[in-house]
């Protein structure tokens, strides 16, 4: 069963990707720890952390791609799952500070002492145990996504409506986490971490190990996603993306397939968040900002949705650009990001991966269909056809009379 899944699931591309990531997980920390600065091939520590951050972003983008690229659910709430996972990890790290905080209270984190808490709130119990914290990192986003998805998909909230409601969910969580009396550190969030699993969090070895862990986690996510999308279930997901009503008429339980994709994706996003927090050293409510979630969408779109490699390329490229421009030309970055949204939706519906595919067909002069058939009509005539409502799969939301 498993071997079958393995051989059917992973095409060569996915194997390559996983191989590269595992190589990186070994080589980058090794070069950082074993070589000294100035030697050829040495990777400075700050770069290790930075790329660790990018890889956790890539994992988040991959999670979003699983629901958006393969199942047609544009979730604007994945930043929330990411942040919830991050808070789970942050709570564990807060408990690891112990009596080394400013107020020196062995049990209560600083902000609780400051707000006159007498004891730990019940939902903080158990977070001093790493495995319990990791279980929560998986369960909390998973359960939230399950409940939310169950309600939304059951009532057939689709398309744009679903996007808006997921955005509203993120917004509600943002408001909630900003409150001081929620017990999550209010608008300062959780920070000042000292140890992770007994290792000092700022040490070079810890940073290198975190990078390795993130790379391995991303490789695992690729493996899982690849397995899902190449299975029969994955085929049904793509069918739902392209024509939901038809899939339903064929007798598939569309709600359950969507619910599975949404929950799995949320769990993946949560794990990405948990890997992100120790590498940046802080988690605060601004991670819940709706704009963050929508930025993840653009990473995925830039790389190419509906592919495994696309969101990873997109996340790394866009974030490299962001790191560069926010320091070099801070004003320019938001213009660039806005323009990116417009440009990609208008001219690059299949992202960078799609461009490479097009370039290949042009150079080889072969009429081969790109690996993933067009998600949306992009040429003028097909979009006009869609506008006329001739292709049920891309049928225009028939507008209604205004009274």
């Amino acid at each position: 069963m498993l071997t079958q899944a393995l051989f059917r699931a992973l095409d060569t591309k996915a194997w390559w990707l996983i191989g590269i990531l595992i190589a990186a997980a070994i080589l980058v920390p090794a070069s950082n720890l074993l070589l000294s600065p100035g030697q050829f091939g040495y990777v400075p520590t700050y770069l290790v952390s930075l790329f660790g951050k990018y890889l956790s972003y890539a994992m988040l983008a991959l999670a979003l791609d699983l629901v958006w690229g393969y199942c047609g659910i544009l979730s604007l709430g994945h930043g929330a799952f990411f942040a919830l996972g991050g808070y789970g990890m942050g709570m564990y790290l807060m408990r690891q500070i112990g009596p080394r905080g400013v107020y020196g209270n062995p049990v209560l984190p600083d902000f609780m002492v400051f707000l006159n808490y007498k004891e730990l709130p019940w939902y903080w119990l158990g977070f001093d145990n790493f495995w319990f914290a990791m279980l929560m990192v998986i369960l909390v986003p998973g359960i939230l996504a399950f409940i939310f998805g169950f309600l939304a998909f059951r009532s057939r909230v689709t398309g744009v409506y679903l996007s808006i409601i997921t955005q509203a969910m993120t917004f509600a969580l943002l408001l909630a986490f900003f409150r001081n009396d929620m017990g999550f550190g209010g608008n300062n969030g959780l920070t000042d971490f000292k140890d992770i699993l007994g290792q000092p969090i700022a040490a070079q070895t810890t940073r290198a190990s975190l990078f390795a862990a993130t790379a391995i986690a991303l490789a695992l996510s690729i493996f899982v996603c690849s397995m899902i999308v190449n299975s029969k279930l994955g085929k049904v997901m793509v069918a739902i993306r392209d024509a939901e009503s038809r899939t339903r008429f064929l007798g598939y339980r569309v709600e359950y397939v969507k619910l599975f994709a949404f929950t799995a994706s949320a769990i993946m996003a949560g794990i990405a968040g948990a890997l992100y927090v120790p590498q940046v050293g802080i988690i605060n409510p601004s991670e819940f900002e709706p704009s963050n979630s929508i930025e993840v969408v653009i990473w995925t779109a830039v790389g190419g949705r509906g592919t495994i490699i696309g969101p990873i390329i997109g996340a790394i490229l866009v974030n490299m650009g962001k790191s560069y421009f926010t320091s070099a030309l801070p004003e320019f970055w938001l213009f660039a990001l806005g323009a990116l949204f417009v440009f990609v939706t208008l001219f690059m519906p299949k992202g960078i991966v799609g461009l490479i595919g097009q370039w290949r067909t042009m150079t080889t002069k072969r009429e081969q269909a790109p690996p993933n058939a067009a998600l949306q009509p992009s040429s003028p005539e097909t979009s006009q056809a869609a506008e006329r409502g001739e292709d049920p799969s891309t049928m225009l939301v028939e507008p209604k009379p205004a009274e």
Partner: protein
């Protein structure tokens, strides 16, 4: 009560009684000045006597001087012994005669000294001013004096109040004085049980905002014989207060709802009628607010006389500007994305980022000052309900915009064409309607309405580049909740959400209330996936 104070008050009263006699000659200014100068020397008790003497003159010009004294801003020039008002002039004080306002020249800051007051003196001054004004000829002054005595609730003033009651002719003020008397009696531990028993219902009926507090205080230190009576009055009051509180809440809800309606009604057109999801809608509102700011700045510079009417100029300007921006967006970006709502969402989000950053680059990230015209400031109280004018006008404006839009959609050729295109695009096209133009105009209309909303919101919210972000999610919620493609749904949705929000706030707090509302909407969509006013038929199925 100290003997000293009692004697001083009695003295004052005595003098007052003499003073009431109209035939008494008014003291001359010179005599008054002497009396005023007597405020400075000696101890606090001497000062008390001097105040009493001043009050006894019954001259109305005395009260502002005493006020200044109680604020501690009355000075005495040491060399001359004159009591004066001072004003800083560099290192010196410019002194003026407190009675006539005549200039008395400059003195060094070392040469003038504050006339000192303590709390006891302040109390004496308050009641003295109360006395002077309770018997003044001007009804407004008498009313204000009664109110201040009522707030002080010092039993010392009782005889004085009775005096004034006997002389009072105006029924309204007489009632107020009786209420004030009841307030004082109720809080006076020395008053008899019967007196206080009679006072409690009067206090409860007064409708004064502090009545509840006063009754509660009285309840806490009342003898047992009184407790039941006061409790009964208090219960009656609490019921009234709860009822008015509910009315007030409904008003707040309507006011919030009309803000939501303004923000969402443009969306009801672009999203509801055209099926275009415009994430830059909030930025249109923001542009409208900035247009208001620019209009006011220009008017201040070129026609300061028109400042009161700047909003009248800003409305059409904002409408036109945002409508043009909207048309540009529709023709430039959205028209390539019809039938692909998710892509439209992303592209318009990009546009919203660009617009925000442009405004930030041009005007800076800080809040801009937008002034309110005078007819929009202040508030009016109506029994237990207080209505601020700016909120009131915004409610009116929202209604006006709503009706105007209904008219446009149902009574104009453009509205007819819009409805035709949305119902059946190809048929409309075949009938000779230029569908692309109708698309652009519809989008322009929706954006223009958002600009109008921005003008209104600039009056009650901070005008900053992030103004729109705060409304976009709420607006979408309103449209989703109310049902798509239906203005009435938007109206009902906005008002329902506004009122529900305000009713949840006291129990759950503002943030939790908002979260509850979001959860409720999600659950509501379970029951009615297409909102309150859903349209039926096959056309809706995607």
């Amino acid at each position: 009560m100290s003997v000293k104070r009692l004697s001083a008050t009695l003295l004052a009263l005595l003098m007052l009684l003499i003073g009431i006699v109209p035939s008494l000659a008014q003291p001359s200014d010179a005599e008054l000045t002497t009396l005023i100068d007597a405020l400075a020397p000696g101890s606090y008790s001497d000062r008390e006597a001097a105040i009493a003497a001043l009050v006894a003159t019954g001259d109305t010009r005395v009260s502002p001087i005493l006020n200044t004294l109680s604020e501690g801003n009355l000075y005495v020039v040491e060399s001359t012994g004159r009591v004066v008002y001072v004003e800083r002039q560099g290192d010196n004080y410019a002194t003026t005669d407190p009675l006539t306002g005549a200039d008395l020249g400059e003195v060094g800051r070392r040469d003038a000294e504050k006339v000192r007051v303590n709390n006891n003196l302040r109390r004496v001054i308050r009641s003295a001013i109360g006395q002077m004004t309770l018997l003044s000829d001007n009804p407004a002054t008498r009313r204000a004096a009664t109110q201040s005595i009522m707030r002080d609730a010092d039993p010392v003033n009782l005889p004085l109040l009775d005096e004034a009651l006997a002389a009072e002719t105006d029924p309204g003020i007489k009632t107020l004085m009786q209420t004030a008397r009841a307030f004082i009696v109720l809080q006076d531990p020395a008053a008899s049980i019967e007196e206080r028993e009679a006072a409690a219902p009067v206090v409860a009926k007064s409708g004064d905002s502090s009545a509840i507090t006063v009754l509660r205080g009285a309840l806490a230190n009342a003898p047992d014989a009184l407790k039941a009576d006061i409790q009964a009055s208090l219960d009656g009051l609490s019921r009234d207060a709860a009822a008015w509180g509910a009315v007030q809440n409904v008003w707040y809800g309507i006011s919030l709802g009309s803000v939501l309606l303004l923000a969402a009604i443009g969306l009801a057109i672009t999203f509801g009628v055209m099926g275009v999801i415009n994430m830059a809608h909030g930025e249109m509102v923001m542009l409208g607010a900035y247009t208001t700011f620019m209009t006011q700045a220009l008017i201040r510079q070129y026609a300061p006389g028109l400042a009161e009417y700047s909003l009248a100029v800003a409305l059409p300007a904002a409408f036109l500007f945002t409508a043009l921006v909207g048309i540009a967006i529709e023709r430039g970006v959205i028209r390539w994305l019809y039938g692909r709502p998710l892509e439209t969402l992303l592209a318009t989000w990009g546009i919203s980022l660009i617009l925000q950053q442009s405004v930030r680059t041009i005007f800076g990230p800080t809040n801009q000052m937008v002034s309110n015209p005078s007819w929009m400031s202040g508030s009016v109280a109506f029994y237990g309900l207080s209505i601020t004018w700016n909120r009131f006008w915004i409610v009116m404006f929202a209604i006006a915009v709503f009706l105007m839009l209904l008219m446009i959609l149902n009574r104009t050729p453009l509205g007819l064409q819009m409805r035709a295109v949305t119902q059946n695009r190809r048929m409309a096209s075949a009938m000779g309607i230029r569908t692309p133009m109708v698309d652009a105009l519809t989008f322009g209309l929706g954006s223009g309405i958002a600009g109008l909303a921005g003008v209104a919101l600039s009056q009650i919210d901070n005008v900053s580049p992030n103004l729109g972000q705060g409304y976009i999610i709420d607006s979408f919620m309103v449209v989703v909740f109310g049902g798509v493609g239906n203005l009435w749904g938007t109206l009902v949705g906005a008002l329902t959400l506004g009122v529900a929000n305000k009713f949840l706030e006291p129990y759950a707090g503002a943030v939790l209330g908002k979260i509850l509302i979001l959860v409720m909407i999600i659950l509501f969509i379970q029951r009615r996936p297409r909102g309150l006013f859903a349209l039926k038929g096959r056309a809706i199925e995607q």
